[in-house]
């Protein structure tokens, strides 16, 4: 899906836990996620901390979208 959307010239950031698979399938902008069962959250945190975590992830992804890249890049 990442590649098909990019084919139309729309930049995509792939937020995913298993970065090597994202690299193998050819995503260009990759943001590491939390864990496979809960990529965008962490149930061991309380609600307020988890919201912060989610916000930081989304902001990082938004920033990654605006970043110029030359090659496949993992944005830590």
């Amino acid at each position: 899906m990442v590649k098909e959307i990019e084919r139309f010239g729309i930049p995509v950031v792939h937020v995913c836990t298993v970065v090597p698979i994202s690299m193998t399938v050819g995503a260009n902008r990759i943001v590491p996620a939390v864990a496979i069962p809960h990529p965008f959250g962490n149930p061991s945190l309380d609600a307020k901390e988890e919201k912060m975590l989610r916000r930081r992830l989304v902001e990082k992804a938004m920033k990654a979208l605006q970043t110029d890249i030359e090659t496949q890049t993992v944005i830590e």
Binding site: T17, V19, P20, I21, I36
Partner: protein, 428 residues
């Protein structure tokens, strides 16, 4: 560490008075068995059925399969840390009741349990159609949580296997095989001319009922470590997995791991088999990196020339597999990986979710997406209510006439990644 494994080949299993082995027939006292395994506050209505090879019987949903064994001499008892104390096992003598399996069945999470057909085309795909199966079905009490149900059913199966194992404690085995592994330094001195080979044993540990236990420890909490192979024969590794049936390792397969068996067979002839490195398949990238780093480090530390890596499950564990392969190869150690494939129903898609050029020696155990039609069976143990939603099933899998069309994924042990099953690959 040296273990004598005495095998008693059972020819039939029947219900009767007092649990014992008569000639080569296992007699099970139904009441005694229920007394030995019952008592869990989460379960009620425990049912025991027998299923024999060649019968028109379908067992589903299958959770675990376990071989009855008993310690005869040496430290500890079978299933250390689970049923017995955490003594280090793997030495002395153990008796194994061959041709018999305890099968635990019943819905735990519905979508992740398997099918065993005792006859017909499905029987050709599961190794557990050839065993006389003592099938234990237990209904959970209302309100029980899935993880409590899983733990209760897991313990029930282990208790049944340990109880039945007692029946061969004083039986003279038909065959005794001795397995010995020395400490690496002594082992290297013994066969200096032979290549040193280790076995990297990946255990499924993703949580949410995808769990394996080592001496009672949830293996997702372990870092990779070394085990004597004979510890595993004494039940030190136990399955707690509710996951795709075709390529999870039931406890039976841990106890009878064919890679360990074959490496021992070649030990002292073509290779010097130094031991087993267990590692896990966790759900964060940091865990995957750490475990594969440590696995490669231990391979190096043991002075291996070669390693065989087996995977359990599929999907994101493909990354653990590839990381292990790449990092071990980068230490200059030749590596073979053993896996299975999810290549689509036509076999045309990419087989693994991850890949690396260093994975240049790969053994496959079949394509789990291939479909099969299973005929109607006269007797059903369990329920077919979850066939459509089980892993490998799809809308319409269970047909009105009782036949089932599923992917091999739904059949217990069909594409097992230790090579315990019957599928293989040929070039043509």
């Amino acid at each position: 560490m040296k273990l004598e494994l005495g095998k008693i080949f059972i020819e039939d299993v029947q219900f009767g008075e007092k649990t014992h082995v008569d000639g080569r027939i296992l007699i099970i006292d139904h009441t005694e068995l229920l007394e030995a395994i019952g008592g869990d506050e989460h379960l009620w209505k425990i049912r025991v059925d027998l299923a024999h090879p060649g019968e028109s019987v379908r067992i589903t949903p299958v959770k675990d399969v376990i071989e009855p064994r008993v310690k005869v001499k040496g430290h500890g008892a079978i299933f250390p840390g689970m049923l017995s104390k955490v003594d280090t096992v793997g030495n002395g003598r153990t008796h194994a009741m061959k041709n018999v399996a305890v099968v635990t069945a019943g819905k735990v999470v519905g979508f992740q349990e398997g099918i065993i057909d005792m006859s017909g085309p499905g029987a050709d795909y599961t190794p557990f159609s050839k065993t006389h199966n003592v099938v234990i079905t237990a209904e959970p009490k209302p309100g029980i949580k899935p993880h409590e149900h899983e733990a209760a059913l897991r313990t029930l199966g282990l208790k049944a296997a340990a109880f039945l194992g007692q029946a061969v404690k004083n039986v003279e085995p038909d065959e005794i095989k001795t397995y010995e592994t020395l400490a690496p330094r002594e082992a290297a001195l013994l066969h200096p001319e032979l290549p040193r080979v280790g076995y990297v044993y990946m255990l499924q540990t993703q949580g949410l009922l995808h769990d394996t236990y080592v001496y009672g420890v949830d293996a997702k909490k372990l870092v990779p470590t070394v085990m004597y192979p004979t510890e595993i024969m004494d039940g030190a590794i136990v399955s707690g997995n509710c996951v795709s049936a075709c390529d999870k390792n039931p406890t039976y397969i841990h106890m009878n791991n064919p890679v360990i068996e074959d490496l021992y067979e070649e030990h002292g002839k073509t290779i010097n088999f130094l031991g087993v490195i267990i590692t896990n398949e966790n759900v964060t990238l940091a865990d995957k990196e750490r475990s594969s780093n440590w696995t490669a480090k231990i391979c190096e530390f043991m002075g291996l020339d070669g390693a065989i890596v087996t995977q359990e499950g599929f999907g994101n564990p493909d990354t653990d597999l590839i990381m292990n392969c790449r990092k071990i190869e980068e230490k200059g150690i030749k590596t073979v990986i053993v896996t299975d494939e999810y290549a689509g129903r036509d076999g045309a898609s990419q087989s693994l979710a991850d890949a690396d050029p260093k994975a240049n020696a790969v053994i496959t155990n079949g394509n789990a997406n291939e479909t099969i039609v299973l005929p109607y069976m006269n007797r059903l143990i369990g329920t077919t209510a979850f066939i459509d939603s089980c892993a490998g099933g799809f809308d319409g899998s269970l047909r009105e006439d009782g036949t089932i069309k599923v992917e091999l994924q739904a059949i217990t042990g069909a594409t097992n990644e230790t090579g315990f099953g019957y599928l293989s690959a040929a070039a043509y």
